[in-house]
Amino acid sequence: MPLLEVSGLRTYFHTRNAIHRAVDGVSFTVEKGETLGIVGESGSGKSVTCYSIMGLLPQPPGRIEAGSAIFDGIDLLRCPPKVARSVRGKRIAMIFQDPMTSLNPYLRISEQLIEPLIIHEKISRSSAVRRGVEMLEAVGMNDAARRIDRYPHEFSGGMCQRVMIAMALITRPELLIADEPTTALDVTVQAQILELIRRLQRELGMAVIFITHDLGVVAGLCDRVLVMYAGRAVETAGVRAIFYQPRHPYTRALQRSIPSTQPKGAALFTIPGLPPDLSTLAAGCAFAPRCESATGLCLGQDPPLVEVAPGHASACLRVQAGEI
């Protein structure tokens, strides 16, 4: 049985003018210990999907219209708040993009770090601080016993991200959701943080959902990949299959857009047009208006996500029909 099973998730934002269908029927699973990469550009719904699972959605204007998120038999979207609180922060943890703004600037690191332990476990403050120092050492902070009493502004971006990872992992969760944790960091610091996540994942045996728009990071870190576009899941497969045998025009176009794969001096391949307005989505495949393989059928029918090869699903009617 998978660790997390999300089915038919729909999260809409109700504004004065329109309804933005940020997540529009997304299903996926995460197995114990595996790393799932969720890839997509701005507005694809990758962050809102995870915020919905974690109960971090501002409701209103957001609203989870449909779907379930089953974690170890508990539907996180429907269970009583007390049950949800016993899971979130303890068994599922989340880290965010900008470490400098995700930490509370008014509190010392020690306070923020031991807070999950004080809430979720019945241990003394001094024991919690001891665990906190151990955790900081585990994430590579030197002189942790002294620096644990410092404030966030006294650390660099990379160090703040390590503190956030320490905070997330201090309760030894079974699932870590990482929302673009290295996007705001320099590339050498990113390499360190990714290495750290890999190592801790092995040590704790935990699963990771890694949200990013960087295909290079996905290639190195993830076991399976979910590609999202305009609030929908368009392709899901193992990492090698996604890169070496992509089976959706959007995934193929995304890979073609990466500068490192193209000859120097030639104009870069670009996907024509812009991502759609999520409040005025017409029927049919959301990517069809920009797709070089689209036919009339694509504009008429909403394509479901269907398995097209073992362990490989695609939401493209023409791929499902074996045409492309």
Binding site: E41, M159, Q190, V218, A267, L268
Partner: protein, 327 residues
Amino acid sequence: MSEPILELKNLQTHFPLHRGLVFKRHTGTVKAVDGVSLAAQRGEVLGLVGESGCGKSTLARTILQLVPATTGSVVLEGRNLTAASAAEVRTSRRALQMVFQDPYGSLNPRLTVFATLAEPMLVHKICPRDEVTGRVAELMKMVGLAPRFMQKYPHEFSGGQRQRIAVARALALQPRIIIADEPVSALDVSVQAQILNLFAELVRRMNLSLIFIAHDLSVVKHISDRIAVMYLGKIVELGRAAEVIERPRHPYTRALVSAIPTPDPDAERARQRIVLAGDPPSPLNPPAGCAFHPRCAFATEKCRAAVPPLERLADGREVACVRVQEI
């Protein structure tokens, strides 16, 4: 070789730090740019890479005279800007323009596209008033925006479109050299490609020189003729773009190139990555000798003893490392 369009000679930009209100004590200096010498040719794209705190943005601002240089000179088409009067610097702005990183912050939200693009033309009086609308329309077409949108405000456009407006603004005075400071970092991959293509086309069509500052090495490799790598206020490597990325000589450049994730699962899992220890150093308290030596796998005593000069190798590459031939 013809004269370079822009020449930086031993440029330094230091920011003194003071303590106290009434009796100021000089407590330290941030050496953001610490001895940069560089020449950009006409029609060349020069990529400038480095991580946070290396001084690349301060360097851009110093070149544009937005920040005063402490010592050294910036020579644009033979004219020394650092020694020039305010009026001369203003005139030089016609030849030297900038595109900033944040497409959401660099445009005045209260000005329409028309007003934003017309402003430089009106300030510098480059054409009669009745021609301005026509020129604005041409600029918009040049960057791929429909002229009928000229009465819209920045918030009505996407990030990529705003960046096109910023590029149009930089082109309004028909400059000969543009400095682009991380112009695509805030954009999605597919939009990045569009803006990069736009820059490449403008460089070709208008014989523009472009200094392209970025931290994404694959983007810089694609668009640049030469690449300069900066570390803590100094240039540590300079050479032809493809060669610097494919065959880096300086240990820092090697670590930087090694850290780039590639979209190839098998290659990623097989590669031996150089993971640097520690954080980038602070420009307030730079290490003695070579600024990179505390994090360098090849450092020896002589690296700590003296700052290594940028030296030219036989193949034309310039590297600031005393051990470059041995490693």
